[in-house]
């Protein structure tokens, strides 16, 4: 099946059992597929996903474009998501963004020159009472200061 690993195909088949139609498992399956394919959806991965799910390529393409957690371009080894919405802004998210731009040379959507991480400014990540916050892959870092951001990001290099 389109060169996906047998483990992944098994997981997708398990997902299919939960819904009356295969297509409904696309979002959970695409998280697994993105992980297996280096963190993003190339044209080939989109085609393979569409084949696996028996939907048109354009349907998968449309989902990649619609949902912020799917990437249509290569990403670094890690993805850093800094929340930019109001509660985080009031607690200094703009300053953190400026610091990351100055100290690591990346702004929203860019990957560091050494490929360590892709930086994205995200809309509300739901940690408003411990703002400002960022997610590094699936790990969260709250009550951020410039020093804390540096400690976390330096460890990614």
């Amino acid at each position: 099946m389109a060169d996906f690993s047998p483990e992944l195909v098994k997981k997708v088949k398990d997902l299919w059992k939960r819904y009356p139609e295969k297509k409904a498992a696309l979002l959970p399956a695409m998280h697994l597929i993105q992980q297996e394919r280096g963190g993003w959806f190339s044209a080939e991965t989109i085609r393979d996903t569409a084949d696996l799910f028996e939907v048109p390529d354009i349907h998968v393409q449309g989902i990649v474009g619609f949902y912020d957690m799917f990437h249509s371009e290569p990403v670094g080894r890690h993805v850093v998501r800094l929340c930019k919405t109001l509660s985080c802004k009031l607690r200094g998210a703009d300053e953190l963004r400026a610091h990351i731009r100055d100290a690591y040379g990346v702004d929203h959507g860019q990957t560091t020159a050494d490929g360590a991480f892709t930086f994205r400014c995200f809309e509300c990540l739901g940690h408003c009472t411990t703002a400002p916050m960022m997610l590094v892959d699936e790990e969260r870092h709250e009550n951020l200061t410039v020093e804390r951001v540096d400690r976390v990001l330096r460890a990614l290099r």
């Binding site: 979002l27 349907h59 619609f66 949902y67 957690m69 919405t85 109001l86 009031l90 408003c128």
Partner: protein, 421 residues
């Protein structure tokens, strides 16, 4: 001094509460046992109706009434739990999912029993990996113990419950968009009617309820409707989770009985006032999609109906506070950036309008807008509102209009005429 009344968060600090054994120690799954053994499905709905419970996702619709819309048919029925918590300022459902996930599983099963659903999906936003993991662990344990799946507790009632991760789209918290997304599509809202209770997932009757709403159901069935409605006040029964964030000394999630305090008391007693000691300039009392309150509005009694009468809404329980150091134009711009990014693009007034509004606010910030531009901004808002499939348009029209109105002199001071004079 305002005191918390902890019902949903009573055991949230106890690490063992995440496990089935820990949850059971505190009365877990007693409500489900009671419902399955002693109550008919319609009794569960009646009890919820009697409790006065209103939805905690933002709209405040009576939960029991929503359940009653489900037609009596032999068609498959579904529960879709809205755990897409995405309204800026809101981080309350996460407390339940991460710290006491079985409470949600139990409430979901009770709702499923009430309406006769055989499958429930918990749609959790993709940016909540901790919630997803906690719920999956809880469901594994519950399935193993015969609490989820076939013939639950030997009652003959069967219900599967699955976690369904989203992938980063605010609009999927809108109930019809959530359903479209769950079916494996872009999250586009649907025209109503038909309402989801009549025609939802795969055209079958589907009840969409928020996480906190279903957690309340667990306690209503365990302790009774009259116990629940003895908490809070008329129109806002039970307890509610409030997230206080922004410029307060003690940001946090607090569980409170509505109607017992004013917004000012809440921000001073529990919030501790502003960290800088500066005066509070504005408060968004129910998420960023609601009209703003200014310092003069803070003595409103904090319950659904009083806040609505004062011109705003409790919304999703997210209270965001900003002090005098902040530019009201910057706050309005930040809000408009959010909604222009999150518009799904389906309806032209919202897709195009949200960008126009953002650009116009940015020109005010840069002191490049004229007085007639601000007039144009208000005119554009009038043409967007009410002309779209879902309420995302209102979600930016309401706060932006309220900012122009309540901080008029500040917008005035930003005008080009002023800047160049």
């Amino acid at each position: 001094m305002i005191r918390e009344t902890r019902v949903m968060l009573e055991h949230a600090a106890d690490a063992a509460q995440k496990t089935l054994a820990g949850y059971r120690k505190h009365g877990g799954y007693q409500a489900l046992a009671k419902a399955l053994r002693e109550m008919k499905p319609e009794d569960v709905t009646e009890e919820v109706l009697k409790s006065g419970l209103r939805g905690r996702g933002g709209a405040g619709f009576p939960t029991g009434r929503k359940w009653k819309f489900v037609p009596k048919t032999n068609k498959k029925k579904y529960i879709a739990v809205n755990a897409d918590e995405s309204e800026p300022g809101t981080c309350k459902d996460r407390q339940i999912m991460e710290n006491d996930p079985h409470q949600l599983v139990e409430g979901t099963l009770l709702a499923a029993y009430a309406i006769g659903a055989g499958t429930a999906y918990i749609y959790v936003r993709g940016e909540y990996p901790h919630s997803i993991r906690a719920l999956e662990d809880a469901l594994d344990e519950a399935r193993e113990a015969g609490l989820v799946g076939k013939d639950i507790m030997g009652s003959g009632f069967s219900c599967d419950v699955w976690v369904h991760p989203g992938a980063g789209a605010y609009i999927c918290g809108e109930e019809t968009a959530l359903l479209t997304s769950l079916e494996g599509n872009r999250g586009y809202p649907r025209l109503r009617p038909p309402f989801p209770a009549v025609e939802g997932l795969w055209k079958s009757p589907t009840v969409v309820n928020n996480v906190e709403t279903l957690a309340c159901v667990t306690h209503i069935i365990r302790r009774g409707a009259s116990w629940f409605s003895s908490l809070g006040c008329e129109g806002s029964t039970g307890t509610r989770l409030f997230c206080i964030s922004g410029h307060v000394k003690n940001p946090g999630v607090y569980e409170l009985e509505c109607g017992k305090f004013t917004l000012r008391e809440l921000l001073m007693d529990l919030g501790g006032g502003t960290p800088s000691g500066r005066a509070i300039k504005g408060v968004l009392p129910g998420g960023s999609s609601m009209p703003v309150f200014v310092a003069a509005d803070l003595d409103v009694r904090f319950d659904l109906d009083s806040v609505a009468k004062a011109g705003s809404s409790l919304g999703s329980g997210a209270i965001m506070v900003f002090d005098e150091s902040v530019s009201a134009v910057d706050v309005a711009l930040n809000i408009s950036e959010f909604y222009s990014h999150e518009s799904c693009g389906q309806c032209t007034p919202c897709r195009e309008g949200s960008d126009w509004v953002r650009l116009m606010l940015d020109s005010v910030r840069r002191q490049e807008a004229t007085r007639s531009d601000v007039g144009l901004l208000l005119d554009v808002l009038d043409r967007i509102e009410g002309n779209t499939i879902c309420a995302l348009a209102e979600a930016f029209c309401w706060p932006v209009r309220s900012f122009v109105k309540k901080f008029g002199s500040e917008f005035e001071a930003h005008l080009k005429e002023r800047a160049t004079a």
